[in-house]
């Protein structure tokens, strides 16, 4: 178990990187507390798996340092770092039984058989694998195999961190939910540092205490799920998290007020906005129909279960989405929409205006 510090980490798959674009991971700083549940969230190719492999030691970084509890492990092998990793596809040793699979990491480290037995049985019990211990691992279903992969990480009582690289990719949808809650429950029970890589926001937001959103090899925002939802620091986070994503409208700022289509809109951080390209961001959850406000036309209504998503179009041609609870009336034709001031933010060059805690880029 360890506190993880990632200091100025960069990585390029090229041997002679010169430009910024050559880096798959562009300078990342992170501090992760011991025993926390973290998620790395981002679209495919954003560098999250690269970051994970750097932490696990499967890749050597081009620059920067990785510290476990203040100890520099940048050049240590995965074995020396004492980490565990669960991969996208279940990795099991086909010829072994489930018991032998779980015992394998301990046997490699020369633990004596009696200790192995107690450890394996505890973990098998935790993962509900006890009834299959004597079976050959190759005969299990995908979720069973993935549990074995996870179990091999859990049997070692001293692992510094357990990492998950999109572990639910090959799991059936109805089992995904089960395995995910199992993971969360385990995390709370054993208080081991866990890092979970995914491109699925539901997985990330339900699993992690802290979510690191990545895009284009950079960390765009680190925060709790609530922070990511309420105050996205970058338009990318606004788009990526939430369903549907945040509405963004081009705007100007005059006298500390955001102006959209000639109408003033109150936004908390409008005063901080500078001269860059400005946009106004508002989550569909905080847009309502009103008597006054921006004029718009209702274009489309989609029922997604307990709520409905209404798409409207402003005179300028930009669309604004609203979320309307079931049972509420939806006007048709010409309407007016207004935004909740506390949840309306101004973005300058895609970054939240006036935000000083912005990640170094």
């Amino acid at each position: 178990m360890a506190k993880i510090t990632i200091d100025n980490l960069r990585h390029s798959y090229l041997s002679q990187p010169s430009r910024d674009e050559d880096y798959a991971l562009k300078r990342v700083h992170l501090d992760w507390a011991d025993g926390g549940a973290y998620a790395l969230l981002g679209p495919s190719g954003c560098g999250k798996t690269t970051l994970l492999n750097l932490i696990s030691g499967l890749l050597p970084p081009s620059e920067g340092k990785i510290l476990f509890d203040g100890r520099d492990v940048t050049h240590d092998t995965p074995e020396k770092r004492n980490i565990a990793q669960v991969f996208q596809f279940p990795v099991i040793y086909d010829t072994m039984t489930v018991y032998d699979n779980l015992a394998f990491p301990l046997r490699n480290r020369g633990v004596d058989e009696a200790d192995i037995k107690t450890r394996v049985e505890t973990i098998a019990d935790m993962l509900e694998l006890t009834s299959t211990l004597k079976k050959r691992a190759s005969g299990l279903t995908a979720d069973g195999k993935q549990k074995i992969s996870l179990g091999r990480g859990l049997v070692r009582s001293d692992v510094n961190v357990i990492m998950f690289d999109e572990p639910l990719t090959v799991i059936d949808p109805h089992l995904k939910w089960q395995l995910r809650s199992k993971l969360k429950e385990l995390q709370q029970r054993i208080k081991r540092t866990m890092i979970y890589v995914t491109h699925d926001q539901t997985e990330a937001l339900t699993f992690a205490d802290q979510v690191v959103v990545m895009n284009n090899g950079e960390v765009v925002q680190t925060g709790t799920p609530i922070e990511l939802f309420d105050k996205p620091r970058h338009t990318f986070v606004g788009h990526f998290i939430g369903s549907p994503g945040m509405n963004f409208l081009p705007c100007d700022v005059r006298d500390g007020k955001a102006m959209v289509g000639g109408q003033a809109i109150v936004a908390g951080n409008a005063k901080a906005a500078g001269k860059g390209k400005l946009e106004l961001g508002i989550r569909p959850e905080f847009v309502t129909f009103s008597k006054s406000g921006l004029a718009a036309d209702v274009v489309k209504v989609a029922d997604i279960g307990r709520v409905r998503v209404v798409e409207t179009k402003l005179a300028s041609g930009h669309s604004v989405k609203l979320i309307v609870p079931e049972g509420d009336d939806i006007p048709t034709g010409k309407v007016h929409v207004s935004f909740a001031p506390a949840h309306t933010h101004v973005y300058e060059n895609s970054w939240l205006a006036g935000d000083t805690s912005r990640a170094a880029s």
Partner: protein, 288 residues
């Protein structure tokens, strides 16, 4: 539920049946026909029953040839399978050397069998061949045209040279298809290289190795061309394998009934051995 009886689908099997009949069953039945009759030409046949079969099964000549074939195959498999696997494990997995290695490995496979025989025949000649001369110059008495042992060594060397590549290429294909995650997981689990080989590479190569063993068994058990060109079955009868003996009966002595019965026995041995190898190597798959 009512089960609908509809056997019209069998019509679709007819083309395949005809194809199989013409390329396998009909020729095979011809051989069966010869094997139970005696003929003196002129298209006259006399019933012989199982005479040919019992003659062969009792004959020392057959036992010797069968023994030689089995020993040869056993030696060849014992060398080529581990060697081919070893070479495949040493080959680079990526980079410009991959294609160089693959081409080098594939070269022996592209050479016609009789050319392989001629090459080794000339190379191993004790007076003018590069190999034969060198070995003799080293003080080792080597002459494959006179010493059975030299002849065997030459044949085995030739077969290893010719066919190890096949095993290598099959194993290599199997190796590169193992996902990286397995090696990474093994690294994280602290597995030593030997354990990686034992628990990841070998189990993942099981299928290609089975195919390699089957192919090499069948080919080496039926080896003919190279041996005929290199030693012609000699010196004496020391390299007269089943295939060569069979041709001697069929074309040398024109003993068609005998040869036909021998062909069938030969065929059944190969069929049985292939089944045996396959079942033994695949048996773990089915057990729970």
């Amino acid at each position: 539920m009512n089960k609908i009886q509809n056997n019209k689908a069998w019509f679709f099997v007819i083309p395949v049946f005809i194809l199989v009949a013409f390329n396998a069953l009909v020729p095979l039945m011809t051989v069966v026909n010869y094997s139970i009759q005696e003929t003196f030409g002129n298209n006259e046949f006399f019933w012989a029953g199982s005479t040919w079969f019992s003659d062969i099964l009792k004959s020392d000549r057959f036992h010797d040839a069968l023994g030689r074939s089995l020993v040869f195959t056993a030696i060849v498999l014992a060398i080529e399978i581990p060697l081919g696997l070893g070479i495949a494990l040493c080959m680079p997995k990526k980079g410009p050397w991959v294609s160089v290695c693959l081409i080098l490995m594939a070269l022996p496979l592209l050479i016609p069998w009789n050319v392989v025989g001629s090459m080794w025949n000339i190379m191993a000649l004790p007076d003018v061949g590069l190999l034969g001369r060198t070995v003799n110059a080293l003080g080792i008495d080597y002459n494959y045209t006179r010493q059975p042992f030299s002849a065997w060594v030459t044949l085995i060397l030739m077969d290893v040279w010719h066919w190890t590549s096949l095993v290598t290429l099959l194993c290599y294909a199997g190796l590169v298809s193992i996902p990286d995650a397995y090696y990474q997981a093994a690294k994280i689990d602290g597995a030593k290289p030997l354990a990686v080989f034992r628990f990841i590479q070998l189990p993942k190569l099981k299928h290609v190795l089975t195919i390699a063993v089957l192919l090499r068994f069948m080919d080496s058990f039926m080896i003919y061309t190279e041996v005929v060109v290199l030693t012609g079955g000699g010196p004496g009868n020391s390299t007269t394998f089943l295939s060569i003996d069979l041709v001697k009966y069929a074309l040398g002595q024109f003993d068609l009934g005998h040869a036909a019965a021998m062909s069938l026995i030969y065929f059944l041995i190969i069929l049985f051995m292939s089944w045996l190898f396959y079942t033994l190597m695949m048996r773990e798959e089915t057990s729970p």
